[in-house]
């Protein structure tokens, strides 16, 4: 291994809870004449969750792609773990992405690879981790999403909900400290949705993962915001109603017409009298 560059140093530094890990400052993005984001600013703090709401086409997926550096803004600044990603080259962006897990809206599983190869992709292909360890890690992560018996299947042999869970497993195998979920529960039955929500909560509260969740399902959004995971004496993890401090750590962000129309906690959202927000919640 070569000596770490200043960029790598900055990225790998452990962030204290409450320190900003993703920052958008006056971001503007348009596809041709179609302006998607006009002036978007927000901060994601370490260990907390931001839930993005907004109509279809509001630019929620676009924001996640901007964080990953898959798209570049036309104006404004984006920081991830202290690095200005809108100015980085693709090569340097790879280092930023080492700490970012992404669950794509349609899963985006590699359909030529098995579930095992999908989930372990980054460790198999882009790291020097010994194969035995990767196998073990893949089994462990698939166990969390309750898919261990499907390890040798192809993605096309799975149901929609199972594919979604494989995508979540793939995003967490390499233990990133930030995970971005694009509509992780859309189109799933309530039981499976809650399993996925609980997984998001556990990663946040037990592993300290900072997360951004894009969703249309308010029920899931409130579940993620108003529950927390605690480890009991016997080591079991339990989902319980969130403490007031936890509640304050989950913020809702509503996108509308390319701007942030609302930002606040679950109770702020419930209490809001804005007609659009009320319509959205009904």
């Amino acid at each position: 291994m070569s000596t770490p560059t200043p960029l790598e140093d900055r990225l790998s530094r452990v962030k204290a809870p409450g320190e900003p890990v993703v920052v958008f400052e006056r971001v503007f993005l348009a596809f041709g004449d179609n302006v998607i984001l006009k002036d978007v600013s927000f901060q994601l703090l370490s260990g907390s969750t931001k839930i993005f709401l907004g109509a279809s086409g509001a630019g929620k997926s676009t924001i996640l792609k901007l964080i990953l550096g898959l798209l570049k803004p036309q104006a404004g600044k984006i920081w991830v773990n202290g690095a200005r990603t809108d100015q980085l080259s693709e090569r340097d962006l790879m280092k930023v992405r080492d700490d970012l897990g992404m669950v794509f809206q349609e899963g985006a599983l590699f359909d030529s690879l098995t579930v095992r190869e999908n989930v372990g992709y980054k460790l198999y292909e882009e790291s020097d981790t010994p194969l035995e360890e990767v196998h073990a890690r893949v089994r462990e992560v698939l166990g969390w999403v309750e898919l261990d018996e499907h390890i040798d299947k192809m993605p096309s042999q799975l149901s929609g909900g199972q594919r979604r869970r494989v995508a979540i497993a793939r995003a967490m195998t390499f233990s990133p400290r930030i995970i971005l979920y694009d509509e992780p529960t859309t189109g799933l039955d309530p039981i499976t949705s809650i399993t996925i929500d609980d997984e998001i909560i556990k990663l946040r509260d037990i592993e300290g993962v900072s997360s951004i969740v894009v969703t249309h399902q308010l029920r899931d959004a409130f579940w993620v915001a108003e529950k927390m995971a605690v480890r009991r004496q016997d080591g079991q993890v339990e989902i319980v109603p969130a403490s007031p401090e936890k509640l304050a750590q989950t913020q809702f962000v509503m996108l509308r017409d390319g701007d942030v129309a609302f930002e606040g906690t679950a109770s702020d959202l419930r209490a809001s009298t804005d007609p659009y927000l009320q319509l959205f919640q009904s």
């Binding site: 990953l68 080492d98 992404m102 985006a108 599983l109 292909e125």
Partner: protein, 256 residues
């Protein structure tokens, strides 16, 4: 007029993007990381996978060439020199061009469809998100395979074509086998063989790099994938024919 400039702009932009891809391919083959497993896989898929179609094309082309040449040569009472016509045209033109066209149809469409569906289902983005450069992982192995396997397939096709011609010459034209082989060897110059080997290298690169370019830039869902597939085959085939003229002209001035 605005329509015309719009087209010109779009065309120029495509060319610019294609040149960028070629630059990225250059970096991809000269610096780490390499994905050896994918390279081996693609050599198999592109090379071994195209064998049947190339064998059939070569064999029947050689055979029909012998029939036609035989008929023409009969007018001059020169049926016995049929081998001369076969070897030169097979090795210099028909072998390389027909092999390349078949590969453009089989491999070009396959690559565009595969990479195209990866593009529209966010799999290319997922690769990037997981720290893999899609050009290195997907395009480099395919282009290397095209670069090496199209010449190899061409040699095989040449050989099978001459074999097909031999069968027709001996059974239909009733020319002695030894006469046929002698005239084949007589007519072949070392320059012809060079020409027959240099051309397919360029064809292989052009077909596969165009298909990768078109595939990776696919937008617009499954419909877009269909369009990309068609476009890759059409652009690949036209590129082969245009390149064939340009390279032939160039090699004639250089070699002969």
């Amino acid at each position: 007029m605005p329509l015309l400039t719009g087209w010109a702009k779009k065309g120029l932009f495509e060319v610019q993007e294609y040149v960028k891809l070629c630059g990225a391919l250059g970096r991809g083959v000269t610096s780490r990381p390499f994905y050896f497993r994918d390279i081996v896989e693609q050599f198999d898929a592109i090379g071994v996978g195209s064998l049947t179609v190339v064998l059939l094309t070569g064999g029947f082309t050689g055979a029909v060439l012998a029939l036609q040449s035989g008929m023409t040569l009969d007018q001059f009472g020169a049926r016995s020199v049929v081998g001369r016509l076969i070897s030169a045209s097979m090795v210099k033109e028909l072998g390389p061009v027909l092999t390349a066209l078949m590969v453009a149809g089989r491999v070009g469409s396959g690559i565009a469809a595969e990479l195209g569906s990866m593009a529209v289902t966010d799999q290319l983005n997922a690769l990037r998100a997981l720290g893999t450069d899609p050009v290195r992982k997907l395009a480099v192995p395919r282009v290397l395979a095209g670069l090496v396997m199209v010449p190899v397939l061409t040699v095989i096709s040449d050989f099978i074509g001459i074999l097909g011609a031999w069968i027709v010459t001996v059974t239909q034209l009733r020319v002695a086998s030894s006469v046929f082989w002698n005239s084949i060897v007589d007519a072949l110059f070392i320059q012809d063989i060079w020409m027959g080997l240099i051309k397919p290298v360029f064809f292989g690169f052009a077909i596969v790099s165009i298909a990768c370019h078109v595939g990776m830039r696919t937008t617009g869902g499954t419909q877009g994938v269909g369009q990309s597939t068609t476009y890759a085959v059409v652009a690949g085939s036209v590129a082969v024919l245009v390149l064939n003229f340009v390279i032939t002209k160039l090699l004639i001035t250089l070699l002969y």
